[in-house]
Amino acid sequence: MIRVQRDIFDIGKEIETLTNGRTDIGAVVSFTGLVRDFNDGTKVTGLSLEHYPGMTERELSKIEDDARERWNLQDCLIIHRYGDMALGEPIVLVITASPHRQDAFEAAHFLMDWLKTKAPFWKQEMNASGETNWVKERESDLKAAKRWNSDS
């Protein structure tokens, strides 16, 4: 399942909802990305995320389908926020559930790596002087995404 929303989310509640009443799940992995006060050596005071409504949902759904095809997943959730966020707030949540931990771990890592290079979100950082600037693409994110290609 995917959700694109402005509102903050509750990690514990999302894990609870996904596992509640089920006795077939052996492993649950969650990843949460948070707004950090530093990026590339610069102090950050806040973050704003723009996205492409419509295309965002399409891309996230494709990424989820890919993960479900590659790994044995019983459930899968991606939540991504947009709009203004304060330091320490969660930006993105990925949860995977599987009978086996290897699948849950790899699928969650894959979802994050692909989302980072495919889902149409753009970060704008604010600094202490009140300046805003668009975050640049990272070479390390491209590399991280690429390693899942060589598998297929």
Partner: protein, 83 residues
């Protein structure tokens, strides 16, 4: 055709969205980009380095030149930085 701009392209062009009627001069994405560059210095600058501009047609990434119809939605944006 509906044209959308995101992130720094939007900031530089001071425009989020516009509608351009389809014409025989711009039957595909390559010719649309060429035409964009002729619209003035800001457009020329934004479209000068196509390495940092991604193109989506009808909310799908395109790879290579793609034919366009009047009802298409074309989006221009930088490499994504979410997550």
């Amino acid at each position: 055709m509906k044209i959308l701009y995101f992130a720094w392209l939007k900031t530089k062009l001071q425009m989020t969205e516009e509608t351009i009627p389809w014409s025989e001069e711009c039957p595909d994405t390559d010719s649309l980009v060429r035409w964009m560059k002729t619209r003035g210095p800001t457009f020329a600058e934004v479209f000068s380095d196509l390495e940092v501009v991604r193109v989506a047609v009808n909310q799908e990434y395109i790879t290579g030149n793609t034919a366009l119809k009047n009802e298409d939605e074309v989006a221009f944006f930088p490499p994504v930085t979410g997550g």
